[in-house]
C-alpha cells in the first residue's frame, strides 16, 4: 500500500527538520551572547551599511525563473513518457519528437533573441 511506503519519507522529513533545529538550539544554548551595534551590523567590507540591502534586481533573473518553470513542466511530461514509450512503440516516439520539436522552436527563439546571454 502506498501509505506504508511513504510513511518513512514523512518521518525522515520530520527527523531531518528536528536535527537542523536541534543543532541551532544547541548553538544558541552553548554559545555566548555578547552583542553590540558594530558586531551585529551587516557585513559591508568595513563600511557603514548605508541603505537597505533588499534592492530591485535585474529582470533577467525573473526570466531565468520563468524559463525554469517551463522546462520543469517539460520534464514532468517526459517522465511518464520515458516509462511507457517502449510498450507503446513508434506512436509514442513520434508524439514526443513532435512535442520536443515544438519546444525546440521556443528554445531556438529564446537563443536567437539573446535571452540566454549574460552581460
Amino acid at each position: 500500500m502506498i501509505l506504508s511506503e511513504y510513511l518513512p519519507i514523512l518521518l525522515f522529513l520530520a527527523v531531518s527538520t528536528v536535527i537542523g533545529a536541534a543543532l541551532l538550539g544547541l548553538g544558541a544554548l552553548l554559545g555566548p551572547r555578547r552583542g553590540g551595534a558594530e558586531k551585529l551590523s551587516p557585513y559591508e567590507c568595513g563600511f557603514e551599511a548605508f541603505e537597505d540591502a533588499r534592492m530591485k534586481f535585474d529582470v533577467r533573473y525573473y526570466l531565468v525563473a520563468i524559463l525554469f518553470i517551463i522546462f520543469d513542466l517539460e520534464i514532468a511530461f517526459l517522465f511518464p513518457w520515458a516509462l511507457v514509450f517502449d510498450d507503446i512503440g513508434a506512436p509514442a516516439l513520434a508524439a514526443m519528437a513532435v512535442f520536443l520539436g515544438i519546444l525546440v522552436i521556443g528554445f531556438v527563439y529564446e537563443w536567437k533573441k539573446g535571452a540566454l546571454e549574460w552581460e
Binding site: L24, P32, P42, R54, F71, F85, L93, L100
Partner: protein, 353 residues
C-alpha cells in the same frame, strides 16, 4: 543484531503494531543519518588533506593521530560560537533558512538503496521524489540571502538561485535518459536494469555517456562547488548567501552542502555506474559478487572527484556558467534523450540481462 533490535521493539510495543512500525522506522532513519553526519565530518577532513597533498602541503596534522580528531574539534568550536542575528535581519526567516536547506538534503536519503532491497522507502517513484527534494534545496539559499539583509548575502543568493535552477533542468533531462533506458522510476530496479554478463560494460555510463558526464558536472554546479562556486566566491562576494551566518547556523549550512555532495556521488553511482554491482563479470567468483562495498567504493571515487575538481580548476565566470548550462548541456541532453529512446526502441542494448 538487526533481528535483536527489531524483536525488542516488537516486544516493547506488543499491543501497538502501528507504534512499533514507527519506532522501527525511526531506528532505521537514525541508522542512516548518524553515519551520514559522521561521513560529512570526515569528508571535511579528507577535503583538507587531499587538497593539501595536491598543493604539496600537509593539511591538518595536530589534533589526534593523522588529525583524525580534527572534525570533532571543528564541530565543538562551531557549537560554542555565538549565534549572530544581524540588525535588520528577519529573525524567523533567518533561522528557518539553514533548517530548510538541511531538511531536503537529508530527506532525499530516504529512497537511496544501499544494496539489493536495502532502501528505507522502496517507493515506486523514487527518482521523481529525488528530483522534487533537490528542487527544494534552493529555498534555504534564497531565504538566507534575503533574511540576512546584507548586500553580499543577497547577491550570492540571487546568483546561486539562478545557477541552481538552470542546472536542475540539465539534471532532470539527464535522469529522463536513465529512465528511458531502465523503464522504471525505482532506484533499486534501475540498478537491476544494469545487470549483465559483461560487468562494467553493461552499466548505463556507456550508452548514456554524455548524460553521465552532464549529470555529474551539473551535480557539482547544483551543490555550488568549485569550479562553479560563484555563489560563494570568497574573493568577490566574501561568502555569498551565508556571509552573516556563524557558529551552529553555519554548521547546518555546511552539513547540508556536504550531505548533498555525498548524495550526488551516490546517485551518480546508482544511475550510471551500476550501484552495488561488481565491475567484473559474474564468472570471476568472489570478485564478481555484487555488494554494498562496490556502491561505497564507487561513491567514494566520485566524492574524491569533487575535491579533485576543487584543487584543479579555476573558478568559472558567471556568464560562462549560465552559458554552459543553457547553451551546451540542455541541447545535448534533449538530443541524447531521443538517441536513448531510439537505442531502446531498436533493442540495441540488453537491459537487465
Amino acid at each position: 543484531m538487526v533481528e535483536v533490535v527489531k524483536g525488542a521493539i516488537d516486544a516493547i510495543f506488543a499491543g501497538l503494531p502501528m507504534v512499533a512500525v514507527v519506532v522501527w522506522t525511526l531506528v532505521k532513519i537514525i541508522a542512516i543519518t548518524v553515519p551520514l553526519i559522521v561521513a560529512v565530518a570526515f569528508y571535511t577532513l579528507a577535503e583538507r588533506k587531499v587538497i593539501g597533498w595536491m598543493q604539496v602541503r600537509r593539511g591538518p596534522v595536530y589534533i589526534g593521530p593523522l588529525a583524525l580528531l580534527q572534525p570533532f574539534a571543528d564541530t565543538f568550536k562551531m557549537l560554542f560560537k555565538e549565534l549572530i542575528l544581524p540588525t535588520n535581519a528577519s529573525r524567523f526567516l533567518y533561522f528557518l533558512a539553514p533548517v530548510l536547506s538541511l531538511a531536503p538534503a537529508f530527506a532525499a536519503w530516504a529512497v537511496v538503496p544501499f544494496g539489493e532491497g536495502m532502501a528505507l522507502a522502496d517507493v515506486n517513484a523514487g527518482l521523481l521524489y529525488l528530483l522534487a527534494m533537490t528542487s527544494m534545496g534552493v529555498y534555504g539559499v534564497i531565504l538566507a540571502g534575503w533574511a540576512s539583509n546584507s548586500k553580499y548575502a543577497f547577491l550570492g543568493a540571487m546568483r546561486s538561485a539562478a545557477q541552481v535552477v538552470s542546472y536542475e533542468i540539465a539534471l532532470g533531462f539527464a535522469l529522463v535518459g536513465v529512465l528511458a533506458m531502465s523503464g522504471t522510476l525505482n532506484l533499486g530496479a534501475i540498478v537491476d536494469a544494469q545487470k549483465g554478463d559483461a560487468g562494467l560494460l553493461e552499466w548505463f555510463w556507456l550508452p548514456l555517456l554524455p548524460l553521465f558526464l552532464i549529470y555529474f558536472i551539473s551535480g557539482v554546479a547544483e551543490t555550488n562547488r568549485a569550479p562553479f562556486d560563484v555563489a560563494e566566491g570568497e574573493s568577490e562576494i566574501v561568502a555569498g548567501f551565508h556571509v552573516e551566518y556563524g557558529g551552529a547556523a553555519f554548521a547546518v549550512f555546511f552539513l547540508a552542502e556536504y550531505a548533498n555532495m555525498i548524495l550526488i556521488s551516490f546517485l551518480t553511482t546508482i544511475m550510471f555506474m551500476g550501484g552495488w554491482l561488481s565491475p567484473f563479470p559474474a564468472s570471476w567468483g568472489l570478485l564478481g559478487e555484487p555488494g554494498p562495498w562496490w556502491l561505497f567504493g564507487k561513491a567514494a571515487f566520485f566524492m574524491f572527484c569533487f575535491l579533485w575538481f576543487r584543487a584543479t580548476f579555476p573558478r568559472y565566470r558567471y556568464d560562462q556558467i549560465m552559458r554552459l548550462g543553457w547553451k551546451v548541456f540542455i541541447p545535448i541532453t534533449i538530443v541524447w534523450i531521443l538517441v536513448a529512446a531510439l537505442i531502446v526502441h531498436a533493442d540495441l542494448v540488453q537491459v537487465g540481462a
